[in-house]
């Protein structure tokens, strides 16, 4: 019998702490028992499942081989309950379908976030109740199926359950079915339950940064740590131990540390004094110097501006990145346009970065040593490791300068460049740039939302947050005249602008830009 029988809210067969669970199933029904469904009506708890429609395959009992002379055919027996409350057998007529079916996750954290206007509410998604009922067949047949279930991030917090989804899954996995609180992890109190599964240990891994991290990826084994009289723990570079649910720079390590995770020590003057670091003061700070063009990099999470003046003859850009935040670090540079670049091109980018300490003496455990003074260098962000500890060795010096206002409220980076490391400025063309800053600490561990990538046509002053391919023309598209939308030195756009040859602009470009900025929520320098 199935352990912990799947009831109405089926999380997954094998809960492995990851976000995407994959299963290949082979079903065989030789008995004529038709008294019940094979799998009762339920709604998956995940966000959705992608699956191949089940096929009936033939199998030679003698050789144990598939009987390839007998073509596979679509299996019947998959039912849904329609929105009209009727039971329908699903007909997957195509031979190459990949089916996406929504789970209860859309009720929990998508539909609850719909705006209350009629148009938005019309986009409410439906979780599909479904069931499987198989008919008896010969032993030489099997119903074969593949599915990939997308679960909510383990570190995401469920306000309804007052715990993270990872905690919910752990609880469900380790708790007897009858002891599971009704409604836990589901949109309805009528829904619950899942089947149990493996844990990280069985995979030779530990729970770390909301995933099972394989020890072998870090040159470790459980035995190795045991021989050293250490335990395998999930730690950050400061040897602080995580339960595995923390976001950030965590990895498995043999250690005896019992220190709990704490935030990085902040800059001594952090946070800004709101009485002094006013919007007006920032306006005054950021306007210093004369520049031809400006792109407002401000979003709902950060406040920054980029100014520049192109010099076609010299092939250079004189630029200034002004940031409404204290000086943990500030960085500006090129996005890595390689197709396989991680984090939307952040990784592998060539940048100028100002740090309040010598990067060569950087320690992920102790941060930047401010007694060594401000340093400005060129770096190449590691192609795989985002944390500064992976790429803190400069690849070149920089003539850029950093300005911090007298009240330690704001930071800016000024430079005149024709290239950064190996990437040239295309003064007569367009470049896709990125920026980031940390106003909180001196560990260069994160930038939170103080970052973006943006497109700049240097000579014309046309610029916008994001890249051209990020923006699509939707039914909300309107035409906006170039006069009102293009950026120039005399205006500060309220929203990023789309400035290609097309005059089509989306009314929600800012929203889209923010959306794309948010795609890599764990991006960090």
């Amino acid at each position: 019998m199935i352990h912990k029988l799947t009831l109405l809210c089926n999380l997954a067969f094998s809960n492995r702490n990851g976000e995407h669970l994959e299963h290949f199933h082979s079903y065989q029904k030789m008995s004529e028992n038709d008294s019940s469904d094979t799998i009762e009506v339920h709604t998956d708890q995940g966000l959705f499942i992608a699956f191949t429609p089940a096929l009936i395959s033939s199998y030679d009992e003698g050789t144990g081989k598939p009987d390839l002379s007998n073509p596979m055919k679509e299996s019947e027996g998959f039912f849904i309950e329609t929105s009209e409350g009727k039971t329908a057998m699903v007909d997957f007529s195509s031979e190459d379908d990949l089916v996406f079916m929504l789970g209860d996750g859309v009720n929990q954290y998508v539909n609850t976030k719909l705006n209350k206007d009629k148009h938005s509410l019309s986009k409410a998604l439906r979780a599909t109740p479904h069931a499987v009922k198989l008919q008896a067949h010969g032993k030489h047949l099997a119903r074969v199926w593949y599915g990939l279930m997308v679960l909510p991030p383990t570190s995401a917090y469920s306000e309804a359950d007052e715990m993270t989804y990872g905690e919910i899954r752990n609880l469900l996995t380790r708790t007897k079915n009858e002891d599971i609180p009704v409604g836990l992890g589901c949109s309805s109190t009528q829904m619950r339950a899942l089947e149990g599964g493996d844990d990280c240990f069985e995979q030779g891994a530990v729970q770390c940064w909301h995933r099972c991290m394989l020890l072998e990826d870090y040159g470790l084994t459980f035995d190795m740590c045991t021989e050293e009289n250490h335990a395998v723990k999930c730690v950050n570079p400061r040897d602080q131990v995580s339960t595995g649910e923390n976001h950030g720079d965590f990895f498995p390590k043999c250690t005896d540390s019992v220190e709990e995770v704490t935030p990085y020590p902040t800059i001594p003057s952090y946070p800004q004094d709101p009485e002094v670091c006013t919007a007006e003061a920032f306006d005054e700070f950021k306007m210093q110097g004369e520049y031809m063009y400006n792109l407002n990099l401000t979003t709902d999470r950060t406040n920054a501006d980029f100014y520049w003046t192109p010099n076609k003859d010299a092939g250079t850009i004189k630029g200034r990145l002004a940031f409404n935040g204290q000086f943990g670090y500030i960085a500006f540079g090129f996005l890595n346009l390689a197709e396989d670049a991680r984090h939307k091109g952040m990784n592998g980018g060539h940048i100028i970065m100002a740090t309040p300490g010598d990067p060569d003496l950087y320690s992920a455990k102790f941060g930047l040593d401010v007694s060594t003074g401000t340093h400005i260098n060129e770096f190449m962000i590691d192609e795989n490791g985002s944390s500064f500890r992976h790429w803190y060795t400069p690849v070149g010096e920089s003539d850029a300068t950093v300005t911090i206002d007298d009240n330690e409220c704001f930071t800016s980076l000024e430079f005149e460049i024709n290239k950064i490391y190996l990437t040239d400025i295309d003064v007569e063309g367009t470049n896709i740039m990125q920026w980031a800053a940390n106003p909180v600490d001196r560990f260069a561990g994160y930038h939170s939302r103080n970052r973006a990538y943006f497109t700049v046509e240097w000579m014309t002053g046309k610029a916008f947050i994001g890249r051209e391919e990020d923006f699509v023309v939707s039914d909300e598209t309107v035409a906006v005249s170039d006069e009102t939308e293009e950026t120039d030195g005399g205006k500060e756009p309220e929203a990023p602008t789309e400035t290609s040859g097309s005059s089509k602009l989306t009314t929600s470009i800012m929203g889209l830009a923010i959306a794309f900025l948010s795609l890599s929520h764990v991006m960090r320098f």
Partner: protein, 179 residues
């Protein structure tokens, strides 16, 4: 979109009340992979998902042969793995026996953990020939699905959709939650 051909033959099968009797058959809305990837202005995806919650993507390059080759060898592979630790066998109350092999994909490089099949089994070797490409294809289609749905949702959703307990990180969009 409903296919109104009533499946009378199935519906007339003698089954107790608890078992399922179909009122009719249903064909999910189908969307081509090219349309899924296109930055189109229509709302085909959200229309289907709002109505019934299910949509079928067709025309994924190479997917048909890949999936069929793989699934054709699945059962033989799983039978070869009977009684091994890395396969799971369950029996349902109606007598159905299910064999399973499972894995997980987590974010980041190397995120797709390998399926722990029996590498010495010839059937499993045949099963696994296209497995990596198959998983990448599904992963890619899943990402396109999430991005397309995010775009079709437009400004209908408030942000963020989810956040961590300390509020330090947010999952602003549908695609943030998926990837």
């Amino acid at each position: 979109m409903f296919k109104l051909s009533v499946v009378l033959a199935f519906a007339n099968m003698a089954m107790p009340a608890s078992a399922h009797i179909a009122d009719f058959s249903f064909a999910p809305e189908r969307l081509s992979f090219d349309d899924l990837k296109a930055h189109a202005t229509d709302t085909l995806l959200i229309d289907a998902l709002s109505k019934e919650g299910i949509v079928s993507i067709t025309g994924i390059p190479g997917f048909k042969d890949m999936s069929r080759n793989l699934l054709a060898h699945l059962h033989s592979c799983l039978v070869d793995m009977d009684n091994q630790e890395n396969s799971f066998t369950s029996e349902y109350s109606d007598g159905t026996v299910r064999r399973t092999i499972a894995s997980v994909t987590i974010p980041g490089p190397g995120g797709a953990r390998p399926f722990d099949y029996d590498e010495e089994s010839l059937n499993c070797q045949d099963f696994s020939k296209d497995l990596t490409l198959f998983r990448k294809t599904v992963d890619s289609a899943t990402e396109f699905f999430a991005e397309r749905l995010t775009l079709e949702m437009g400004s209908a959703l408030t942000r963020p959709l989810m956040n961590t307990k300390d509020g330090e990180y947010t999952f602003d969009e549908f695609s943030d939650v998926v990837r």
